[in-house]
Symmetry: C2
Subunit: 347 residues, 2 copies
C-alpha cells in the first residue's frame, strides 16, 4: 500500500495512551479496568486511522495462526473428486469461520513431492491440517501425527488412530443393494467405483456382499466387475456383465461417473433402464440428475464431511478432547428413475 500502515504506536499516540492500553482495549481483554473514556478514545483513534493489527506480529507472539489448511491431493481421481470440492470446501470454511479460523487451500499435484504439505505444519503456516486423499504409505503424515501436530484425514487410514472423517461406505452400499432387493431383484451385479487398492472400493464391495448375504443370497464373483472412476471403465465393466450367460437384472455401480458409463452400455446394447436392468449409483454428483433416466443413487454429504472435518480439527487444536476422533457420516438413498421404484420405494 502507498501510505504506511498505521501501527499500534500510532493509535497510542493519537489516543494519548500507551501501546499496552491500545492492545488491552482492542482485544477486549477481560478483568482489566480501563475507564470508559480511555476505552472510547482508543476505539476512536483506531477507527480514525483505519487501524488493523498486523496479523504476523500477533501470530509471532501468540504462537497461534488461527488458520487451518485443506491439503487436496489431485490423484488419478481428480475429476471425480472435483465434484465434491465445492461442497466440502463450503463445509470446512463454514466450520473454520465459526471458530474464527482461516482456511488455506493447498492442492498437491501429481508432480508435487508427496510431502509438499509438511512445510505448512512445520513452518507454522497453520495450526492444523485436513488431508484429503492421503496415500497410506506417506511417512511424513505419521511423523507429523506422532509429533502431536493436529491432523484430520478426509478418508481413512486403516490400522492407525489418526483422526478421520469419512462417509460410511459399507452402509451406503447396503442401502443401495437393499433398495434393489426390496424391488424384487435377486440377481444383482456390482461394478466397483475403483480398483480394490482404494479403501472406499473395498468397503462398498463389502457392503454389497453383506446386503446379499443378509438376504440369503450367495455372493457370486462372476457378477462383480471393477470400475476405475470414469465413464469408460463403467461402459467396459457393464459390457462384461451383459456378456454373461445370465446377465443380472439389476446392478449396483459404486460411483455415479462409472454408473453413467454403465448406463450408456446398457442403452447401446438395446436394453432399457430400468425395465430390463435397474441401476443404482453412488455419490450423487450433479450429473446424476441429468442423465436419462435420472440415476437413483446414494448421496455423499460433501458439506457435512467438510464441516465435520473442520470442526474436529479445530477441537483437536484447541485441546477440546473430542470423544470420537474417527467419524463416519451417513449416506442417503436418493430415489430417481433408474431403479424402477416409485417415489417412496416399494416394488
Amino acid at each position: 500500500m502507498n501510505r504506511p500502515r498505521p501501527t499500534s504506536r500510532d493509535v497510542a499516540r493519537l489516543a494519548g495512551v500507551s501501546r499496552t492500553t491500545v492492545s488491552l482495549v482492542l482485544n477486549n481483554v477481560p478483568d482489566v479496568k480501563i475507564s470508559p473514556e480511555t476505552r472510547q478514545r482508543v476505539l476512536d483513534a483506531a477507527r480514525r486511522l483505519n487501524y488493523y493489527p498486523d496479523v504476523s506480529a500477533r501470530r509471532l507472539v501468540s504462537g497461534k495462526t488461527h488458520t487451518i489448511a485443506l491439503v487436496w491431493h489431485r490423484g488419478p481421481d481428480a475429476t471425480y473428486r472435483d465434484a465434491f470440492l465445492p461442497g466440502l470446501l463450503q463445509g470446512i470454511t463454514r466450520a473454520a469461520r465459526h471458530y474464527g479460523y482461516h482456511l488455506l487451500f493447498r492442492p498437491i499435484d501429481p508432480d508435487d513431492p508427496d510431502e509438499a504439505y509438511v512445510e505448512l505444519a512445520r513452518g507454522r503456516h497453520t495450526d492444523g491440517l485436513v488431508l484429503s486423499g492421503p496415500r497410506s504409505d506417506d511417512p511424513s503424515l505419521l511423523e507429523l501425527y506422532r509429533d502431536g501436530f493436529p491432523l484430520v484425514l478426509h478418508g481413512q487410514l486403516p490400522g492407525t488412530e489418526v483422526p478421520s472423517v469419512d462417509v460410511d461406505n459399507v452402509r451406503g452400499a447396503i442401502q443401495a443393494v437393499h433398495h434393489l432387493l426390496s424391488l424384487g431383484h435377486r440377481r444383482i451385479g456390482m461394478i466397483t467405483n475403483a480398483p480394490l487398492a482404494y479403501i472406499s472400493s473395498r468397503q462398498r464391495l463389502d457392503g454389497y456382499r453383506q446386503a446379499l448375504e443378509a438376504a440369503g443370497l450367495t455372493y457370486d464373483p462372476e457378477l462383480v466387475q471393477f470400475g476405475n472412476f470414469d465413464e469408460e471403465s463403467g461402459r467396459k465393466a457393464m459390457l462384461s456383465l451383459l456378456d454373461l450367460p445370465t446377465p443380472p437384472t439389476a446392478v449396483f455401480v459404486a460411483s455415479d461417473m462409472v454408473a453413467i458409463g454403465a448406463l450408456r452400455a446398457i442403452l447401446d446394447h438395446g436394453l432399457r433402464v430400468p425395465e430390463d436392468i435397474a441401476i443404482v449409483g453412488f455419490d450423487d454428483i450433479a450429473a446424476a440428475r441429468f442423465v436419462s433416466p435420472p440415476l437413483t443413487t446414494i448421496r455423499v454429504p460433501a458439506f457435512g464431511l467438510g464441516w465435520t472435518a473442520g470442526e474436529l480439527l479445530i477441537r483437536i487444536i484447541e485441546q477440546d478432547q473430542p470423544e470420537h476422533t474417527q467419524v463416519l457420516l451417513e449416506t442417503e438413498l436418493i430415489v430417481r428413475r433408474s431403479c424402477g421404484a416409485k417415489e417412496g420405494g416399494g416394488k
Copy 2:
C-alpha cells in the same frame, strides 16, 4: 506440537555459528561468502533438527506474506458459480505455486457483512486479493484499490480501472448465435442467463444482438426472455417463447443450467431437439454433456480465468507493471447434438 520447535538459535548452536550465518545459508543469500564447510554444517544441523523457519517471524520482518486470497461471494447464483470453482481454484493455485505464493480461500456468505474480506488486506493476512462476484456498489473495494492494495476482480466493474479478468461474454454470444445462423436459422430466440442487472447478462444479450445485425436480421425483443440462473427459470422462459404465434426455430440460452430447463420445456411440449428447435447453451458445465441430447455450448475457461487472475495479481504485487490489467479470455464453441450440426459445423 509436543516438543518445542527448533529455532534458528538451536541450529546456530548445533552448527557452532551465529544466527546470522544460519539465516544467510538457509536463504541462500547471494553475494555473501561463506565457506563450503560452514554452509554444510548449517545445512546438516537444520536437517538434524528438522528445522523450518517460523513463517510469522519471517513475514513480520519482510512485510510480505507471500499469500494471496480468493474471496468468493456466494450470492443467489452460488450453485451456478460452484460449477466453476474447482477449475478456477486449480488455475489460481497453480499460478500461486508457480510464483511461490499460498492461497487463502475466503467465501463470503450472504449473511456475512459485505466487506468481511477487508481485514484480509488491512490486517496483512495477504499481499493481494482476487475478488470473485463483487458487488459493484461495494465502497470498501474501491477504497482498497485507491490505497494501492493489489486487487484483481474475477468479473468486471465497468467504469473503473480496477484490474480484472473475465470471459469475453460478447464474443462468446456471437459465437453461439453465429453457429446457429450458419446452420440456416433465421428466427433465433434468446434466453438470458440472468437478469440484466448482471453485467454478463447484458453482454451476452449484446452479443446476440450484434450477431443478428451482422447477419442483416433485425433484433426482435419479443424473442428475448430472461433467465435467472436455474433450470426452472429456463423452463418458464422457454414456455413463453413456445407460446409465441411463430416460435423461434432455434434459441441461444446464455447459461447451461437455464438451457437445461429450456430443453425440458421443449421436450415436455412434445417437440424435438434439435429437429424442431435447436439450442446452444453457455458455460459448458459438466451436466451439459449428460443431458439428452447433449448440449452444444460455449465453453468458459475456468482454469484459464484462475491462472490469469492469479498471475496478474502477483505481477501487480511484485510491481511488475503488466501491460494489460483488464483481460478478457476467449470462449470456445463446443458442438454437441442439441444444435443439429454435424461435428465440425456446417448446415
